[in-house]
């Protein structure tokens, strides 16, 4: 599976993380480490402060709707060690998802968490200014969710590309 050229494997991060904070790691693969959602701020704080991990920058924060759960993905960057760490927090609650905010650790989460809240509807508890960003207050629903609009017989994504034939190559 693809990984960034300088990505720290999830297993390495997971072993370091569970050594320092027992029980914080939910699972780990070669790519990412999954953290217990209610302890995400704690885990990020440790990754930020630890000299080996040195995750000084939150380079990307986004969320993925997996129909029944939300994955919030944190791409952390260490500049001095020059590696990237991918941390995920899975929010099982699909109707009113909530997660501790990472703003106290990373100021860069200010707008990224607002964006996720606006489009995905995940509340970040402890965020100082959690309002809709692109859409206006009172907009019905959260458009990036897969069940947005609830159109019957409509399944997100393309089931089959209209002119897709085996052996046809793009030119």
């Amino acid at each position: 599976m693809p990984a960034g050229p300088r990505q720290l494997t999830g297993d390495t991060v997971a072993s370091a993380l569970s050594g320092a904070l027992p029980g914080v790691v939910a699972s780990a693969t070669a790519e990412w480490v999954e953290v217990e959602p209610n302890r995400i701020a704690e885990a990020l704080r440790w990754l930020h402060d630890d000299a080996e991990m040195d995750a000084k920058q939150l380079s990307n924060l986004c969320a993925v709707d997996r129909h029944d759960r939300f994955e919030v993905v944190y791409h952390l960057q260490s500049m001095d060690r020059n590696h990237q760490i991918v941390v995920k927090a899975v929010v099982g609650e699909h109707d009113d998802p909530a997660l501790p905010s990472s703003y106290p650790i990373y100021k860069g989460a200010l707008l990224q968490e607002r964006e996720v809240y606006d489009l995905m509807g995940i509340r970040f508890e402890g965020h100082p200014d959690l309002r809709r960003m692109f859409l206006w207050e009172g907009y019905p629903g959260f458009p990036l969710r897969k069940d947005f609009l609830q159109i019957p017989d409509h399944h997100p994504g393309l089931p089959k590309f209209p002119f897709e034939e085996p052996g046809v190559q793009a030119r």
Partner: protein, 473 residues
């Protein structure tokens, strides 16, 4: 957010009653007819059976006034108790001046807008207007037609009467300030003996109209712009007046024609004798004019258009025209005070004075355009500091030096070449030292604030690398 914007009430659109329109039309036609009649009398040369051409405008105006005064003396007018003795001659003189100045400014603006835009175009490696008419010469006319066609909006929350007034009011100081400008030895409408005082007084009136416009618009940008204008004008009136004071000291006259005559007599432009006053006057004038680098009152990137943000159509056009007219006026005054006016080392015998003055004012105007095409803008506090900490002390020093020189000039009976030559050398030396050392004294360091080139590195890293390189702040 701690407060909210108040919403204005909706008002029905204005309808001018037809009766008022007819009255206005009759009044305007009467005004035009009176102007035309006076112009006809003067230009036709029926005044005293003598032919005046445009170079003898001063004589013609004086003659006209004398004749009107004589008529007035014979048959005392009914207004005598109210406005004094010679009301008719003043009224007629003013109308006459209005015709001349308006026609000159109107014509000059039509050309100068084109010139300025072409010049700026050249400075910005583009062509400038070149589509309407030959070489784009009709572009200003097309712009004016466009502005006339546009809807004139009045914002909902605006104070309607006060909002209507400023475009008209602001024309007055610009027009009247042209009165004392001597275009040739005898070519000034209003050659009064307190010309300099008159100019300073009249040109500060612009502030009122600008503040009125900003206040009545009920717009924050407009208010900010007008507040900036007022702050700036108050500050820059002082160095401007002191600079002109040194001109008055050395020439011994407040009459503009006398000042030019002094320069013609001594074959010396005052720029040579008074470099500090020249620079001070020019810079302060750009501040008063809202031209770059001092255009903070209508700083486009900050407060949109400053005090005239809410004006549209021909009201905006009037502000624009006044701005250009004022720039032209400042160029003319710089040429008059410091570049010798209509004099050109004796060549004024052969070349009409007004052409010489026009050439000089074009040069000064070019510098204004050049500045506009080159420099960024100061911040308000920087501009204030520049006025109070730099220009005012410098012009006071200059005033002291010039006062000593003026009293020497009055007492020392030496040839002009010796005295004035000596003063020129002294003043340029003083200018050099003062300009440089006073800047240092008020804390300016040319190379302060770190390197002016980005540091280049091959290494990659975060905060540790930054500390290693010494670039972390």
């Amino acid at each position: 957010m701690s407060s909210t914007l108040r919403q204005g009430r909706r008002r029905p659109a204005t309808r001018v009653p037809p009766g008022l329109m007819i009255v206005g039309a009759v009044f305007a036609l009467g005004f035009l007819a009176a102007n035309a009649a006076i112009g006809y009398v003067v230009i036709d040369g029926r005044l005293d059976g003598q032919w005046y051409d445009i170079r003898d405008l001063g004589f013609a105006v004086q003659e006209l006034k004398a004749q009107l005064d004589a008529i007035n003396d014979d048959q005392p007018g009914f207004l005598d108790d109210i406005v004094g003795q010679h009301w008719m001659s003043y009224a007629v003189g003013a109308l006459l001046g209005a015709i001349g100045i308006l026609s000159f400014i109107g014509g000059a603006l039509l050309v100068l807008i084109w010139v300025e835009r072409r010049l700026i175009g050249r400075m910005q490696i583009r062509r400038g207007p070149n589509r309407v008419g030959p070489y784009g010469l009709l572009q200003p006319v097309a712009d004016a037609v466009k502005l006339i066609q546009k809807e004139v909006l009045t914002p909902d929350g605006a104070d309607r009467i006060l909002f209507l007034l400023p475009p008209a009011i602001i024309f007055v100081p610009m027009m009247t300030a042209w009165g004392p400008v001597p275009w040739a030895p005898n070519m000034a409408y209003l050659d009064i003996n307190v010309g300099v005082l008159y100019l300073i007084a009249v040109s500060s009136l612009t502030t009122l109209a600008v503040f009125l416009a900003g206040w009545s618009s009920n717009n924050h940008y407009a208010l900010l712009g007008s507040m900036r204008t007022v702050a700036m004008m108050i500050s820059y009136e002082i160095p401007l007046s002191i600079a002109l004071l040194s001109v008055v000291l050395i020439t011994g006259s407040m009459q503009l024609s006398e000042i030019v005559q002094w320069q013609a007599d001594h074959n010396l432009w005052l720029i040579a004798l008074l470099p500090i006053a020249m620079v001070t006057y020019f810079f302060s004038s750009t501040a008063e004019l809202n031209r770059t680098p001092n255009d903070i009152a209508e700083a486009e990137s900050e407060i949109v258009a400053g005090f005239h943000t809410e004006y549209s159509g021909m009201k905006f056009g009037l502000f624009y025209a006044v701005e250009l007219g004022n720039a032209l006026l400042v160029a003319t005054l710089v040429a008059t005070f410091f570049l010798g006016g209509w004099s050109l080392f004796g060549l004024e015998e052969w070349i009409p004075g007004y052409l010489i003055l026009f050439a000089k004012l074009s040069a000064a105007y070019f510098v204004l355009v050049w500045l506009r095409g080159t420099l960024p803008r100061f911040r308000l506090d920087q501009l204030m500091r520049f006025a109070w900490q730099y220009l005012i002390p410098l012009s006071l020093f200059n005033l002291l030096i010039v006062a000593i020189e003026a009293s020497l000039l009055a007492r020392w009976d030496a040839p002009g070449l010796v005295t004035l030559g000596l003063f020129t050398v002294v003043n340029w030396g003083a200018a050099y030292i003062l300009f440089r050392d006073w800047a240092r004294r008020i804390g300016y360091q040319p190379d302060a604030g770190g390197p002016r080139r980005a540091e280049l590195t091959q290494q990659v890293g975060g905060i540790e690398a930054a500390h290693r390189m010494g670039t972390a702040t």
